[in-house]
Each structure stands twice: as structure tokens, then as C-alpha cells.
Symmetry: C2
Subunit: 64 residues, 2 copies
């Protein structure tokens, strides 16, 4: 399988994308969509990833 | 000034966000919006950042 795109980006490119994500205030929405998909049963993830996503959601809610 | 949120995230959290960004196929749109804002004169950036964004845009176009 090909490497996921995000792993082929340089550190600078990754940083730039994260900057845009926060500048355009889209980070929380992104995590929200993913959690909705999981909770609706549209997407299967393991418990560890679900916990990571929940923590990230709380983190972003506090910070933004 | 407070630290930008993205700089307060752990490496794992940053990675998770980038993963979602690509999974939801939003990365290219994010860069596109930023370039449109700059080219319309709605946002001022220096030439270096503009070049970085253009390179990232080309990169993502090829990869996705």
C-alpha cells in the first residue's frame, strides 16, 4: 500500500497545514465530523483511537 | 501573546489532526482557500510564505 500522503510531507509542510487548519478555525469541526461518523456507526475505529479523538475534542474545545 | 493552539498540541495530537485532514480530503481545499484570500488581496503574506503555499498546493495536487 502507498504511504499515506501526510507521511510524505516535510515537517514544514505539516506545520503549514496545521497553521491553516487553526487559522481557518476548522480543527474542531474536523474532529467533530469524525466522532459523529463513529457514533452513528458509519465508521469503525478501535477503542484507543476513539479515546484519542475524544481527548483531542476536549482539548480543542478548551483551547479555541 | 498566547501560543498558537497548534504549538500546544502533542506530536500525537498533531498527527491525528493531519490524518483526519487527509481522510476527509480537506487538505487541498484548505490551501486553495488561503491562496484565494491572498490573491484577492484579502490576506497579506510575505513572498516566502506565498511560495511555500504554492509549493504545498502543487504537492497536494500531485499526491491526492
Amino acid at each position: 500500500m502507498a504511504k499515506p500522503v501526510q507521511e510524505t510531507l516535510s515537517h514544514e509542510e505539516q506545520r503549514l497545514l496545521l497553521e491553516l487548519l487553526f487559522a481557518q478555525r476548522y480543527a474542531l469541526e474536523l474532529v467533530c465530523c469524525e466522532l459523529a461518523d463513529i457514533e452513528n456507526g458509519d465508521k469503525q475505529v478501535d477503542a484507543k483511537r476513539y479515546q484519542q479523538l475524544l481527548r483531542l475534542y476536549d482539548r480543542l474545545l478548551q483551547e479555541t
